[in-house]
């Protein structure tokens, strides 16, 4: 067994040897927390991207855990500049590749251009530069690692933090239930730019993730992939539950997996029966303070949002959980 023991293990050979590349582009030895869903996502996304790519990364967890000089976990050519500008940096890389190729200074195939950032770097401080790059139509793929708060600086709320979640700047108290706003719908914002490919993905659904990354990378023009990245540190969840929580997010319809190709929505994972949202909330300490009232609100909101999505996808309604009348009455 070599240093990438997992990839060489018997299980891998049995199930995925012909389907997933063995090459590692986000190598071990980085400093992410135990059970980090984001590091898992980065590892598999970079495998799917393949060798010929240039990555621009925003400031954030993945930048900090992977690039402390003189070490690096990145096998790709990789650049970090600042927090809010990674889409602009990627725009520059893509434009430079075009002119260098046109002038014959760059031989062979054009490398793929990839930008990556956390939810803060994407939905808050980086939204302007992302919007600019999507509007200008650069041929690049943006990956948002959404762990639903500013985890790197110590779990502060972002516009991607879900309703009810406890963070260090949205603490629950006598006058507050925690985060009191709904999570920003970043994929809808990306879709509104009229770009050819938008998708949500999760490292808990590796084949779905892999397929979407390939599709995003190969689509000419801008593509946006929003990846739910379970964060045991910030979500106050057990470190061995990260993959499970990613699946529960989909099974409860909190984070549905879909893609939008040229504006056309399609559900890529269709749970036949939606689980109660409580199954997803309960293992997470960040929701521990919520009362039945707020849990019922989250259930309602989740279902309403999911129904809107199903309509956009033209998908059949699954079996939804029964919300007990008594819970509603307690409001």
């Amino acid at each position: 067994m070599d240093k990438f023991g997992y990839a060489q293990s018997q299980k891998f050979d049995t199930y995925a040897s012909r389907l997933m590349p063995r090459e590692e582009y986000f190598t071990s030895g980085h400093r992410s927390c135990q059970g980090c869903g984001e590091a898992l996502a980065v590892r598999w996304v970079t495998k799917a991207i393949g060798k010929d790519a240039i990555i621009a990364h925003a400031t954030g967890c993945m930048e900090i855990v992977s690039s402390g000089w003189p070490q690096t976990a990145w096998m790709h050519p990789w650049i970090h500049v600042a927090f809010e500008n990674t889409s602009a940096v990627a725009s520059g890389i893509e434009s430079a590749l075009k002119i260098l190729h046109r002038k014959g200074k760059l031989k062979g195939a054009m490398p793929k251009v990839v930008a990556m950032g956390g939810d803060g770097g994407t939905t808050d401080i980086g939204l302007q530069s992302l919007s600019g790059a999507l509007e200008r139509g650069h041929n690049f793929t943006y990956f948002c690692w959404d762990n639903e708060a500013y985890m790197n600086t110590g779990i502060q709320r972002s516009s991607s933090t879900p309703y009810g979640a406890m963070t260090t700047t949205s603490p629950p108290g006598k006058m507050s239930i925690g985060q009191h706003t709904q999570k920003k719908n970043m994929t809808a914002i990306a879709v509104a730019h009229g770009i050819p490919y938008v998708a949500t993905a999760s490292p808990s659904y590796l084949f779905d993730l892999y397929y979407k990354v390939r599709k995003a990378i190969e689509t000419p023009g801008p593509a946006y992939v929003h990846v739910l990245s379970v964060c045991p540190t910030g979500w106050r969840s057990a470190t061995d539950l990260s993959v499970r929580l990613g699946r529960l997010a989909v099974e409860t319809a909190v984070f549905p997996l879909y893609e939008v190709v040229n504006g056309k929505y399609r559900l890529t994972v269709e749970p036949p029966k939606i689980r109660p949202v409580q199954d997803y909330l309960k293992p997470q300490g960040r929701f521990r303070h919520l009362r039945d009232k707020e849990r019922a609100l989250i259930q309602k909101h989740t279902q309403a949002q999911y129904e809107l999505l199903l309509q956009k996808c033209g998908a059949a309604y699954p079996e939804f959980p029964v919300i007990s009348e008594t819970e509603e009455e307690t409001e």
């Binding site: 060798k51 010929d52 790519a53 240039i54 621009a56 930048e63 900090i64 690039s67 402390g68 000089w69 003189p70 690096t72 990145w74 096998m75 790709h76 050519p77 990789w78 650049i79 970090h80 500049v81 600042a82 809010e84 500008n85 889409s87 602009a88 940096v89 990627a90 725009s91 520059g92 890389i93 893509e94 434009s95 430079a96 590749l97 075009k98 002119i99 260098l100 046109r102 002038k103 200074k105 490398p111 302007q128 530069s129 919007s131 600019g132 509007e135 200008r136």
Partner: protein
């Protein structure tokens, strides 16, 4: 053969960038630099310049996009002013720390508030410590020449630092002047294609922009400082090469009628030409006044300044920016520091002039000299004067 042209200085700069075969440009509109990038974008649109022109959505993104372009290996250019430079500020430090040889024209303009589109040096003085090479020009010919030379300086593998060419907004950028343009062959010979030392290339992957723990941060800054001060000799070498080719020679501190001068005015940018007129008139009336023009702002030419003031009794520094609540206006602060260790150093006086587009005529310099000489007899009453301000 070089040929004479008459055109707006902004347009001349866009021609300089074209002759340098810039490959990638990212810019955002802001007065008064707009004419430069407008003309570059039309050159790209007309096929006169083979480059990628990216219309970004802010100056912050302009500099960020330029970083991506330069890090990938393209010869990169942009221009900005005032608020635009201020918005870029965060990224300017990173550009120089990444050692990317981007060339930027700053058409100097006052900073808001109150909002002013007119000229002073408040914008660049607020970006004094960004770690870039910073040069000031006085007229259209200098603007053209230094735009060309900037690429050669910045891209030198011993330098690899971004470079700013400062020209005064409107009062230089929008003026039509006579200039001499060199032939394309001369520029091509002078400035070979850009070969990056490192670039973002899948065949040779590198990590750029890694973070530094306290154990290495200081060493990184020291390296940057050494690169910037070490750039001095390479800048002079490039200026000499250009001078030999064109007959136009440049110095870090230019002297005008300083022979035997007891009193020296010190200016930057295009007000130097106005000061020259005043110096001529004062010389005619028997006053022993000369003029120093500070061309190289970063790295600061300490030795040149000391030798230029040797023999003078009085240096009158004309700043075009304030350091609110600070010890001295920015240029005075530097000049005083440079002179402090000098044996028999001249006395300094300070006048802040021409803020936010306030016009400065030759007579102003005569008044400044008269006031400074008068006060030199007495004990100074204040650290610096804001010239012409109404009370």
């Amino acid at each position: 053969m070089a040929h004479r042209v008459g055109m707006e200085v902004s347009i001349a700069i866009s021609h300089a960038v074209q002759m340098c075969r810039a490959e990638a440009i990212a810019a955002y509109p802001i007065t008064p630099q707009t004419h430069i990038v407008e003309h570059l974008s039309s050159m790209v649109a007309n096929g006169e310049l083979d480059a990628e022109f990216v219309n970004v959505e802010s100056e912050h993104s302009a500099m960020s996009t330029c970083i991506g372009m330069s890090a990938t290996g393209a010869r990169t250019y942009t221009a900005t002013s005032s608020q635009g430079l201020a918005l870029m500020n965060e990224i300017l430090f990173i550009t120089s720390a990444l050692r990317l040889p981007i060339v930027m024209t700053v058409a100097n303009r006052a900073l808001s508030g109150p909002l002013s589109i007119w000229n002073d040096h408040g914008d660049i003085m607020a970006a004094r410590d960004i770690g870039w090479i910073q040069i000031f020009v006085e007229n259209g010919q200098e603007a053209f020449d230094h735009s060309v030379m900037a690429f050669k300086i910045a891209e030198n593998h011993q330098v690899l630092l971004p470079t700013i060419i400062n020209l005064d907004g409107f009062i230089l950028s929008h003026v039509v002047e006579a200039m001499e343009f060199p032939d394309q062959e001369l520029v091509d010979k002078f400035l070979p294609p850009y070969h990056p030392r490192y670039s973002l290339d899948p065949a040779k992957p590198v990590t750029m922009g890694a973070f530094a723990m306290p154990e290495v941060y200081t060493e990184c800054k020291m390296g940057h400082q050494m690169a910037l001060t070490g750039a001095y000799e390479h800048i002079l070498q490039v200026w000499k090469e250009w001078g030999d080719l064109t007959g136009r020679h440049y110095q870090p501190v230019e002297k005008y009628r300083t022979e035997g001068a007891k009193t020296l005015l010190l200016t930057m940018g295009c007000l130097s030409e106005v000061a020259e007129v005043a110096v001529d008139e004062m010389r005619e009336s028997g006053l022993e006044v000369g003029l120093l023009k500070l061309r190289m702002w970063r790295p600061f030419p300490f030795a040149d300044l000391r030798s230029a003031v040797a023999g003078a009794k009085h240096v009158i520094v004309c700043d075009r920016a304030l350091s609110l609540g600070g010890a001295a206006p920015p240029v005075l602060a530097e000049v005083r520091s440079a002179l402090y260790a000098m044996r028999g150093r001249p006395q300094t006086s300070s006048f802040v002039i021409g803020l936010g587009g306030r016009d400065i005529a030759p007579n102003a310099f005569k008044e400044i000299v008269a006031q400074a000489l008068e006060e030199a007899q007495q004990k100074p009453t204040q650290e610096y004067h804001i010239f012409g301000v109404r009370g």
